[in-house]
Each structure stands twice: as C-alpha cells, then as structure tokens.
Symmetry: C2
Subunit: 114 residues, 2 copies
DNA sequence: ATAACATATGAACAGATAAACATATATACA
DNA sequence: TGTATATATGTTTATCTGTTCATATGTTAT
C-alpha cells in the first residue's frame, strides 16, 4: 500500500509541472552535456579554442597539462560533439564544432559575473 | 632546466590565446557552475521550478526522490544562486533566482536536439 | 627499416559526489 | 507542554571521474 501523498501546491499546478517536464532520457542527456562543461580543464580547452584551432600538444603546453590529459579530455569533448578534429600529417587540429559552445559558456559567465 | 617547448601554432596565435584567457579563478568558478547543472536530479528540480515555486516535499514527491535528497540538492542550487527560498510557516518555497538558469538550460537543450 | 615525433589507449589510483540513513531544528496546533 | 509536520544537517557508503603512468598506434623523414 502506497503512502497517501499530499501536496502543498495546487493540483492544477502539479499537473502542469508534470506535463511540461521533458522525458527523463532527455533530462539525463542534458545533465550529461553540462557535466562536460563542469571541469576546469575542459573549460580551459574550450576557451583556448575560441581563438584558434590548435593541435593536442599546443593545447597541453598552453594549459600546462600533460599530453595524455589533454588527449583524454579532448576525447570527452569530441564524443559530446563540442569539438571536431582535423588531421594534418602526424598532427590533429581541434576546433569548436558549433557556436552553442560559445553561447552556453557566455551565459554561464554572465551568471558568475553578477 | 625547463624543456625546450615548441608549438605548432603561430607565436602570434599563442599570444592571443593566452591574452584572452580569463583568469584561472574565473574559469574554475565557471566549471563549478556547470557542475551544478551536471546532475539529472538538479536539472529536474530546475525544470519543475520553471512552472511554479514549489515546497521541498512537493519537489520530492513530483520527482520521486526522498525529502532528504531534495533538500541536499536544493542546498547546492541555493549555494550557487540558481534558486532562492521563501519561508511560509513550516514550509519553504523554492523558485528560480533569475533567468540565466532558463537561458543556460535552453542553450543546452538546443545543442542536444540537433 | 629505423628513429623521432604526435597522439591515443588502457589500467590503476586518488579525490569528489550523490544517495541513504539517522537525527536535529523549527514551526504549528491541540 | 507535547505531538505532528516540514525541512535541514551529519555521516557513511558506493560510485564516478580526472590524472598519471606505461604503452600502443600512426606518421614522417633519413
């Protein structure tokens, strides 16, 4: 037997909230996306790429991290379609995949700066 | 003696990248902010609050989580200024603190839906 | 083919974190 | 005052995550 749940909010309100809530899978994906932005190393990489495409070693050197760490994080960014890769000889140049990245980070910055 | 670092990118480019990079502390704060969005329980809470202010117990019931879990997550959201609280008797109503929350989540959704 | 370089991968470890459980605080009402 | 209700807090635990180290893959040049 389930508990008798009761609510403070109006029944109508509760109904609206539940109606407008996107499906769980979508909310899960959204959280996953933000999780990618939730690491300072990855944020730094994205910021660096605002200016120019860069190869892995340059990114590592610029940010003062190891090549391995850069590579691992670039993989996360690529998997989540935040950056794309272009191969040129032995080097691989990474760049932002679209301007959502810029917009999302900008909104975040606005929130912080107030 | 430091390694002799060399870069693939132009010296000028590297300089610009470093110049435009915000201070580390700011980048760290930004990552912290996105970390808050990077959890599906918190995303669900924020989505619920898009419609209406809600008390803790309602949020817990609506999302199918325990009161304790809701309270813990609301604290995280409040600490990061994403929600604000209004006390009314024994109940505490939570609501979104500003529209950055909405904008950030919207941008994220756009990225996912493409 | 071999050497040097650029990047990626796999495994292990340390630190972070969300949830659960028990309990504390605070308010309302009898 | 005592009791029920609403929310918050502290602690533990299981899981996740970022980094490091070692190694592998792939590319270029000699």
């Amino acid at each position: 037997m389930a508990d008798t749940e009761y609510l403070c909010a109006e029944t109508e309100t509760v109904k609206t909230v539940l109606d407008k809530m996107p499906p769980d899978e979508m909310l899960y994906d959204l959280a996953e996306l933000f999780k990618v932005f939730g690491d300072s190393t990855r944020i730094k990489i994205l910021y660096a790429l605002f200016e120019s495409e860069l190869c892995v070693n340059d990114i590592a050197t610029l940010l003062g991290i190891t090549q391995t760490a850069a590579s691992h994080q670039l993989r996360v960014l690529k998997t989540n379609k935040l950056v794309k890769a272009r191969k040129n000889g032995k080097m691989i140049f990474y760049s932002l995949s679209d301007d959502h990245v810029y917009k999302i980070i900008s909104q975040g910055m606005e929130h912080i700066e107030e």
